[in-house]
Protein backbone atom coordinates (compact mmCIF):
# COMPACT_ATOMS: atom_id res chain seq x y z
CA UNK A 1 0.00 0.00 0.00
CA UNK A 2 1.34 3.42 -0.90
CA UNK A 3 0.52 6.48 1.16
CA UNK A 4 -0.03 9.11 -1.49
CA UNK A 5 -0.45 11.97 0.90
CA UNK A 6 2.95 11.32 2.43
CA UNK A 7 5.06 10.44 -0.64
CA UNK A 8 6.71 13.82 -0.88
CA UNK A 9 10.06 12.31 -1.73
CA UNK A 10 8.64 9.76 -4.09
CA UNK A 11 6.59 11.16 -6.94
CA UNK A 12 7.12 7.84 -8.69
CA UNK A 13 4.55 6.11 -6.49
CA UNK A 14 1.90 8.61 -7.49
CA UNK A 15 2.87 8.30 -11.16
CA UNK A 16 2.62 4.53 -10.85
CA UNK A 17 -0.89 4.86 -9.44
CA UNK A 18 -1.86 7.08 -12.39
CA UNK A 19 -0.55 4.46 -14.81
CA UNK A 20 -2.90 1.93 -13.24
CA UNK A 21 -6.00 3.95 -14.15
CA UNK A 22 -8.15 1.89 -16.52
CA UNK A 23 -8.26 2.96 -20.18
CA UNK A 24 -11.23 5.02 -21.33
CA UNK A 25 -12.47 3.65 -24.64
CA UNK A 26 -14.10 5.59 -27.48
CA UNK A 27 -17.18 4.36 -29.30
CA UNK A 28 -16.72 1.79 -32.04
CA UNK A 29 -18.01 4.09 -34.79
CA UNK A 30 -15.37 6.75 -34.25
CA UNK A 31 -13.05 5.50 -36.97
CA UNK A 32 -15.81 5.55 -39.60
CA UNK A 33 -16.94 8.95 -38.44
CA UNK A 34 -13.42 10.26 -38.79
CA UNK A 35 -13.20 8.93 -42.34
CA UNK A 36 -16.28 11.01 -43.19
CA UNK A 37 -14.99 14.12 -41.47
CA UNK A 38 -11.64 13.80 -43.19
CA UNK A 39 -13.45 14.63 -46.37
CA UNK A 40 -14.78 17.85 -44.99
CA UNK A 41 -12.74 20.99 -44.99
CA UNK A 42 -14.84 23.08 -42.67
CA UNK A 43 -12.94 24.67 -39.85
CA UNK A 44 -14.11 25.10 -36.35
CA UNK A 45 -14.91 28.67 -35.50
CA UNK A 46 -13.23 29.62 -32.28
CA UNK A 47 -15.10 32.13 -30.23
CA UNK A 48 -13.30 34.38 -27.77
CA UNK A 49 -14.22 35.54 -24.30
CA UNK A 50 -15.95 38.88 -24.55
CA UNK A 51 -13.66 41.62 -23.30
CA UNK A 52 -16.71 43.18 -21.64
CA UNK A 53 -16.77 40.40 -19.06
CA UNK A 54 -13.20 41.11 -18.03
CA UNK A 55 -13.85 44.83 -17.88
CA UNK A 56 -16.96 44.31 -15.74
CA UNK A 57 -15.09 42.09 -13.33
CA UNK A 58 -12.35 44.69 -12.97
CA UNK A 59 -14.93 47.33 -12.05
CA UNK A 60 -16.52 45.09 -9.44
CA UNK A 61 -13.15 44.21 -7.92
CA UNK A 62 -12.08 47.85 -7.88
CA UNK A 63 -15.20 48.98 -6.06
CA UNK A 64 -14.60 46.56 -3.25
CA UNK A 65 -10.92 47.38 -2.61
CA UNK A 66 -11.46 48.64 0.95
CA UNK A 67 -13.31 45.56 2.12
CA UNK A 68 -10.69 43.44 0.41
CA UNK A 69 -7.88 45.14 2.35
CA UNK A 70 -9.48 44.27 5.67
CA UNK A 71 -10.03 40.73 4.51
CA UNK A 72 -6.38 40.51 3.42
CA UNK A 73 -5.13 41.47 6.86
CA UNK A 74 -7.23 38.73 8.41
CA UNK A 75 -6.02 36.31 5.75
CA UNK A 76 -2.35 37.06 6.48
CA UNK A 77 -2.92 36.44 10.16
CA UNK A 78 -4.59 33.10 9.42
CA UNK A 79 -1.83 32.12 7.01
CA UNK A 80 0.90 33.03 9.49
CA UNK A 81 -0.78 30.94 12.17
CA UNK A 82 -1.10 28.02 9.77
CA UNK A 83 2.52 28.31 8.65
CA UNK A 84 3.88 28.54 12.19
CA UNK A 85 1.91 25.46 13.18
CA UNK A 86 3.01 23.59 10.07
CA UNK A 87 6.73 24.22 10.48
CA UNK A 88 6.58 22.30 13.75
CA UNK A 89 4.66 19.44 12.19
CA UNK A 90 6.62 16.27 11.42
CA UNK A 91 4.39 15.69 8.40
CA UNK A 92 5.92 17.06 5.20
CA UNK A 93 2.44 16.96 3.68
CA UNK A 94 1.19 19.40 6.32
CA UNK A 95 4.11 21.74 5.66
CA UNK A 96 3.38 21.54 1.94
CA UNK A 97 -0.28 22.34 2.38
CA UNK A 98 0.56 25.40 4.51
CA UNK A 99 3.00 26.76 1.93
CA UNK A 100 0.65 26.10 -0.94
CA UNK A 101 -1.92 28.16 0.95
CA UNK A 102 0.56 31.04 1.09
CA UNK A 103 1.34 30.72 -2.63
CA UNK A 104 -2.33 30.65 -3.54
CA UNK A 105 -3.11 33.64 -1.35
CA UNK A 106 -0.11 35.61 -2.67
CA UNK A 107 0.33 37.53 0.58
CA UNK A 108 2.77 37.31 3.48
CA UNK A 109 4.39 39.45 6.16
CA UNK A 110 8.03 39.63 7.23
CA UNK A 111 7.78 36.84 9.78
CA UNK A 112 6.32 34.52 7.18
CA UNK A 113 9.10 35.36 4.70
CA UNK A 114 11.66 34.45 7.36
CA UNK A 115 9.92 31.14 8.00
CA UNK A 116 9.67 30.38 4.29
CA UNK A 117 13.35 31.20 3.79
CA UNK A 118 14.31 28.79 6.55
CA UNK A 119 12.21 26.07 4.96
CA UNK A 120 13.63 26.76 1.47
CA UNK A 121 17.16 26.39 2.74
CA UNK A 122 16.97 23.73 5.40
CA UNK A 123 13.86 21.56 5.19
CA UNK A 124 14.73 17.87 4.76
CA UNK A 125 12.08 17.31 2.07
CA UNK A 126 12.88 18.50 -1.49
CA UNK A 127 9.15 18.95 -2.11
CA UNK A 128 8.87 21.28 0.86
CA UNK A 129 11.94 23.23 -0.27
CA UNK A 130 10.37 23.60 -3.72
CA UNK A 131 7.06 24.74 -2.26
CA UNK A 132 8.89 27.25 -0.07
CA UNK A 133 10.80 28.67 -3.06
CA UNK A 134 7.58 28.96 -5.02
CA UNK A 135 5.86 30.67 -2.09
CA UNK A 136 8.75 33.12 -1.75
CA UNK A 137 8.62 33.81 -5.49
CA UNK A 138 4.92 34.56 -5.15
CA UNK A 139 5.01 36.78 -2.08
CA UNK A 140 8.51 38.15 -1.38
CA UNK A 141 10.36 41.15 -2.78
CA UNK A 142 12.99 40.67 -5.49
CA UNK A 143 15.84 41.27 -3.03
CA UNK A 144 14.41 38.72 -0.59
CA UNK A 145 14.07 36.23 -3.43
CA UNK A 146 17.64 36.93 -4.57
CA UNK A 147 18.96 36.14 -1.09
CA UNK A 148 17.18 32.79 -1.03
CA UNK A 149 18.15 31.88 -4.60
CA UNK A 150 21.84 32.66 -4.07
CA UNK A 151 22.10 30.82 -0.79
CA UNK A 152 20.16 27.85 -2.02
CA UNK A 153 21.91 27.51 -5.38
CA UNK A 154 25.23 27.32 -3.57
CA UNK A 155 24.24 24.29 -1.51
CA UNK A 156 21.21 22.59 -3.04
CA UNK A 157 21.87 19.02 -4.25
CA UNK A 158 18.45 18.01 -5.56
CA UNK A 159 18.28 18.43 -9.35
CA UNK A 160 14.56 19.09 -9.15
CA UNK A 161 14.98 21.87 -6.60
CA UNK A 162 17.84 23.28 -8.66
CA UNK A 163 15.53 23.44 -11.68
CA UNK A 164 12.95 25.36 -9.65
CA UNK A 165 15.64 27.75 -8.47
CA UNK A 166 16.74 28.31 -12.06
CA UNK A 167 13.20 29.25 -12.97
CA UNK A 168 13.06 31.59 -9.99
CA UNK A 169 16.13 33.47 -11.28
CA UNK A 170 13.94 34.83 -14.08
CA UNK A 171 12.33 37.09 -11.45
CA UNK A 172 15.67 38.71 -10.53
CA UNK A 173 17.09 41.78 -12.18
CA UNK A 174 19.61 41.10 -14.95
CA UNK A 175 22.95 41.64 -13.10
CA UNK A 176 21.76 39.70 -10.06
CA UNK A 177 20.54 36.90 -12.29
CA UNK A 178 23.82 36.69 -14.19
CA UNK A 179 25.80 36.55 -10.95
CA UNK A 180 23.57 33.80 -9.58
CA UNK A 181 23.82 31.72 -12.74
CA UNK A 182 27.60 32.13 -12.99
CA UNK A 183 28.04 31.05 -9.40
CA UNK A 184 25.74 28.11 -9.95
CA UNK A 185 27.51 27.01 -13.16
CA UNK A 186 30.84 27.02 -11.36
CA UNK A 187 29.66 24.05 -9.33
CA UNK A 188 31.08 20.76 -10.58
CA UNK A 189 28.37 18.50 -9.22
CA UNK A 190 25.48 19.67 -11.38
CA UNK A 191 23.04 17.33 -13.03
CA UNK A 192 23.67 17.48 -16.84
CA UNK A 193 20.09 18.49 -17.63
CA UNK A 194 20.16 21.25 -15.04
CA UNK A 195 23.53 22.44 -16.34
CA UNK A 196 22.13 22.58 -19.88
CA UNK A 197 19.15 24.61 -18.66
CA UNK A 198 21.40 26.96 -16.71
CA UNK A 199 23.68 27.47 -19.72
CA UNK A 200 20.64 28.14 -21.87
CA UNK A 201 19.34 30.73 -19.40
CA UNK A 202 22.78 32.28 -19.06
CA UNK A 203 22.94 32.67 -22.86
CA UNK A 204 19.65 34.57 -22.92
Amino acid sequence: MEDLSMSNNDDDSLLAALRRLPPVQPTIGLRAEFAKRARLTSRRHVARWPLAIAAGLSLILGAGWWQERTAREAEVLALRTELEAAILDVSAARRLVAMNSVTRAGVADGAMITTLTRLALFDESPSVRIAAIEAITAVASVSELATVVNQSLAKEHSALVQSVLLQATSHLDAPERTRALDAFLSRRDLDPIVRADANSQRAT
Binding site: D3, S7, L21, P22, Q25, L30, R31, E33, L96, S127
Partner: protein, 191 residues
Protein backbone atom coordinates in the same frame (compact mmCIF):
# COMPACT_ATOMS: atom_id res chain seq x y z
CA UNK B 1 11.80 -3.17 -52.91
CA UNK B 2 8.16 -3.41 -51.75
CA UNK B 3 7.09 -1.48 -48.67
CA UNK B 4 6.39 -3.56 -45.54
CA UNK B 5 2.72 -4.02 -44.54
CA UNK B 6 1.21 -0.92 -42.99
CA UNK B 7 0.94 -2.60 -39.59
CA UNK B 8 4.71 -3.12 -39.54
CA UNK B 9 5.66 0.42 -40.47
CA UNK B 10 6.82 2.92 -37.88
CA UNK B 11 4.83 6.04 -37.01
CA UNK B 12 7.49 8.11 -38.71
CA UNK B 13 7.29 6.10 -41.92
CA UNK B 14 3.50 6.28 -41.90
CA UNK B 15 3.55 10.02 -41.34
CA UNK B 16 6.03 10.51 -44.16
CA UNK B 17 3.61 8.51 -46.33
CA UNK B 18 0.79 10.83 -45.22
CA UNK B 19 2.96 13.73 -46.35
CA UNK B 20 3.02 12.09 -49.74
CA UNK B 21 -0.79 11.95 -49.80
CA UNK B 22 -1.32 8.39 -48.58
CA UNK B 23 -4.64 8.49 -46.66
CA UNK B 24 -4.41 4.78 -45.85
CA UNK B 25 -1.34 5.64 -43.81
CA UNK B 26 -3.37 8.28 -41.96
CA UNK B 27 -6.03 5.69 -41.23
CA UNK B 28 -3.34 3.36 -39.89
CA UNK B 29 -2.07 6.11 -37.60
CA UNK B 30 -5.63 6.78 -36.47
CA UNK B 31 -6.17 3.10 -35.63
CA UNK B 32 -2.87 2.96 -33.80
CA UNK B 33 -3.23 6.10 -31.69
CA UNK B 34 -6.84 7.21 -31.44
CA UNK B 35 -7.67 5.14 -28.34
CA UNK B 36 -4.81 6.56 -26.35
CA UNK B 37 -5.50 10.06 -27.59
CA UNK B 38 -9.17 9.67 -26.74
CA UNK B 39 -8.34 8.68 -23.17
CA UNK B 40 -6.08 11.72 -22.81
CA UNK B 41 -8.70 14.10 -24.18
CA UNK B 42 -11.61 12.54 -22.29
CA UNK B 43 -9.79 12.93 -19.00
CA UNK B 44 -8.48 16.38 -19.91
CA UNK B 45 -11.88 17.79 -20.84
CA UNK B 46 -14.00 15.61 -18.56
CA UNK B 47 -16.38 15.04 -21.44
CA UNK B 48 -16.48 11.88 -23.57
CA UNK B 49 -18.50 13.32 -26.45
CA UNK B 50 -16.20 16.32 -26.69
CA UNK B 51 -13.21 13.99 -26.67
CA UNK B 52 -14.55 12.09 -29.67
CA UNK B 53 -14.89 15.35 -31.60
CA UNK B 54 -11.44 16.44 -30.55
CA UNK B 55 -9.76 13.18 -31.54
CA UNK B 56 -11.10 13.61 -35.04
CA UNK B 57 -10.04 17.25 -35.09
CA UNK B 58 -6.52 16.26 -34.03
CA UNK B 59 -6.14 13.86 -36.93
CA UNK B 60 -7.62 16.38 -39.34
CA UNK B 61 -4.96 18.80 -38.18
CA UNK B 62 -2.33 16.11 -38.67
CA UNK B 63 -3.54 15.92 -42.24
CA UNK B 64 -3.50 19.68 -42.69
CA UNK B 65 -0.10 20.07 -41.00
CA UNK B 66 1.53 17.11 -42.73
CA UNK B 67 3.97 19.34 -44.60
CA UNK B 68 5.34 20.57 -41.27
CA UNK B 69 6.23 17.07 -40.10
CA UNK B 70 9.91 16.36 -40.73
CA UNK B 71 10.41 13.11 -38.86
CA UNK B 72 12.64 14.56 -36.18
CA UNK B 73 11.55 14.12 -32.58
CA UNK B 74 8.89 11.84 -31.21
CA UNK B 75 5.75 11.39 -33.33
CA UNK B 76 3.80 10.69 -30.15
CA UNK B 77 4.93 13.99 -28.65
CA UNK B 78 4.02 15.81 -31.88
CA UNK B 79 0.57 14.21 -31.85
CA UNK B 80 -0.06 15.09 -28.21
CA UNK B 81 1.14 18.63 -28.83
CA UNK B 82 -1.51 18.99 -31.51
CA UNK B 83 -4.07 17.41 -29.16
CA UNK B 84 -3.14 19.87 -26.44
CA UNK B 85 -3.57 22.81 -28.79
CA UNK B 86 -6.89 21.49 -30.04
CA UNK B 87 -8.11 20.99 -26.47
CA UNK B 88 -6.94 24.49 -25.50
CA UNK B 89 -9.10 25.89 -28.30
CA UNK B 90 -11.97 23.80 -27.03
CA UNK B 91 -11.64 25.21 -23.50
CA UNK B 92 -12.18 28.64 -25.00
CA UNK B 93 -15.46 27.69 -26.62
CA UNK B 94 -17.14 24.98 -24.56
CA UNK B 95 -16.73 24.43 -20.88
CA UNK B 96 -19.53 22.10 -19.99
CA UNK B 97 -18.27 18.85 -18.61
CA UNK B 98 -19.75 15.49 -17.79
CA UNK B 99 -20.48 15.14 -14.06
CA UNK B 100 -17.42 13.76 -12.33
CA UNK B 101 -19.18 10.65 -11.14
CA UNK B 102 -20.05 9.70 -14.71
CA UNK B 103 -16.45 9.92 -15.80
CA UNK B 104 -15.22 8.06 -12.74
CA UNK B 105 -17.74 5.27 -13.26
CA UNK B 106 -16.67 4.87 -16.86
CA UNK B 107 -13.12 4.20 -15.79
CA UNK B 108 -13.92 2.01 -12.82
CA UNK B 109 -16.41 -0.13 -14.70
CA UNK B 110 -13.73 -1.29 -17.09
CA UNK B 111 -11.49 -2.73 -14.40
CA UNK B 112 -11.91 -6.27 -13.17
CA UNK B 113 -14.61 -6.03 -10.50
CA UNK B 114 -13.91 -9.48 -9.06
CA UNK B 115 -11.67 -9.45 -6.02
CA UNK B 116 -10.45 -5.94 -6.76
CA UNK B 117 -13.15 -3.85 -5.20
CA UNK B 118 -10.73 -1.93 -3.04
CA UNK B 119 -8.45 -1.22 -5.98
CA UNK B 120 -11.33 -0.11 -8.19
CA UNK B 121 -12.61 2.21 -5.47
CA UNK B 122 -9.15 3.62 -4.88
CA UNK B 123 -8.62 4.23 -8.58
CA UNK B 124 -12.04 5.84 -8.86
CA UNK B 125 -11.03 8.22 -6.08
CA UNK B 126 -7.78 8.94 -7.87
CA UNK B 127 -9.76 9.59 -11.06
CA UNK B 128 -11.99 11.98 -9.13
CA UNK B 129 -8.97 13.83 -7.75
CA UNK B 130 -7.43 14.01 -11.22
CA UNK B 131 -10.56 15.64 -12.60
CA UNK B 132 -10.52 18.19 -9.80
CA UNK B 133 -7.00 19.55 -10.37
CA UNK B 134 -6.51 22.59 -12.59
CA UNK B 135 -6.35 21.78 -16.33
CA UNK B 136 -2.72 22.91 -16.67
CA UNK B 137 -1.73 20.39 -14.00
CA UNK B 138 -4.10 17.71 -15.28
CA UNK B 139 -2.59 17.71 -18.75
CA UNK B 140 0.88 17.21 -17.29
CA UNK B 141 -0.35 14.37 -15.06
CA UNK B 142 -2.01 12.70 -18.01
CA UNK B 143 1.05 13.00 -20.24
CA UNK B 144 3.64 11.86 -17.72
CA UNK B 145 1.49 9.61 -15.54
CA UNK B 146 -1.30 8.01 -17.52
CA UNK B 147 0.35 8.12 -20.95
CA UNK B 148 3.82 7.42 -19.57
CA UNK B 149 5.60 9.91 -21.81
CA UNK B 150 9.22 10.62 -20.88
CA UNK B 151 10.17 14.01 -19.43
CA UNK B 152 11.77 14.84 -22.77
CA UNK B 153 8.53 14.03 -24.61
CA UNK B 154 6.47 15.97 -22.09
CA UNK B 155 8.80 18.89 -22.75
CA UNK B 156 8.25 18.53 -26.49
CA UNK B 157 4.49 18.56 -25.98
CA UNK B 158 4.54 21.55 -23.65
CA UNK B 159 7.19 23.44 -25.59
CA UNK B 160 9.71 23.59 -22.77
CA UNK B 161 13.00 22.01 -21.79
CA UNK B 162 13.28 18.58 -20.23
CA UNK B 163 14.30 20.14 -16.92
CA UNK B 164 11.34 22.50 -16.95
CA UNK B 165 9.06 19.58 -17.81
CA UNK B 166 10.39 17.69 -14.81
CA UNK B 167 9.53 20.63 -12.58
CA UNK B 168 6.04 20.95 -14.06
CA UNK B 169 5.43 17.26 -13.46
CA UNK B 170 6.48 17.65 -9.86
CA UNK B 171 4.21 20.68 -9.41
CA UNK B 172 1.30 18.82 -10.97
CA UNK B 173 1.85 15.84 -8.66
CA UNK B 174 1.95 18.21 -5.74
CA UNK B 175 -1.34 19.75 -6.85
CA UNK B 176 -2.89 16.30 -7.21
CA UNK B 177 -1.66 15.37 -3.75
CA UNK B 178 -3.29 18.51 -2.31
CA UNK B 179 -6.60 17.69 -3.98
CA UNK B 180 -6.32 14.12 -2.74
CA UNK B 181 -5.81 15.35 0.82
CA UNK B 182 -8.74 17.76 0.49
CA UNK B 183 -11.04 15.04 -0.80
CA UNK B 184 -9.91 12.06 1.20
CA UNK B 185 -8.03 13.32 4.23
CA UNK B 186 -4.34 12.97 4.99
CA UNK B 187 -4.00 9.23 5.25
CA UNK B 188 -5.61 7.80 2.15
CA UNK B 189 -3.99 4.89 0.40
CA UNK B 190 -4.05 3.53 -3.11
CA UNK B 191 -3.28 -0.12 -3.44
Amino acid sequence: MPLPPIADRTDRDLMLAVRGGDLAALDALFVRHHGRLYGFLARLTGNRATAEDLVQEVFLRVLRARERYHGDGSFTAWLFRIARNVAAGEYGTRRETMPLDDMVDVGAAESDPIGEMETAEDLARLERALLAVAPQHREVLLLRGVEDLSHREVGEVLGCTEGAARVRVHRALNALRNVWIDQNGGSVHVQ
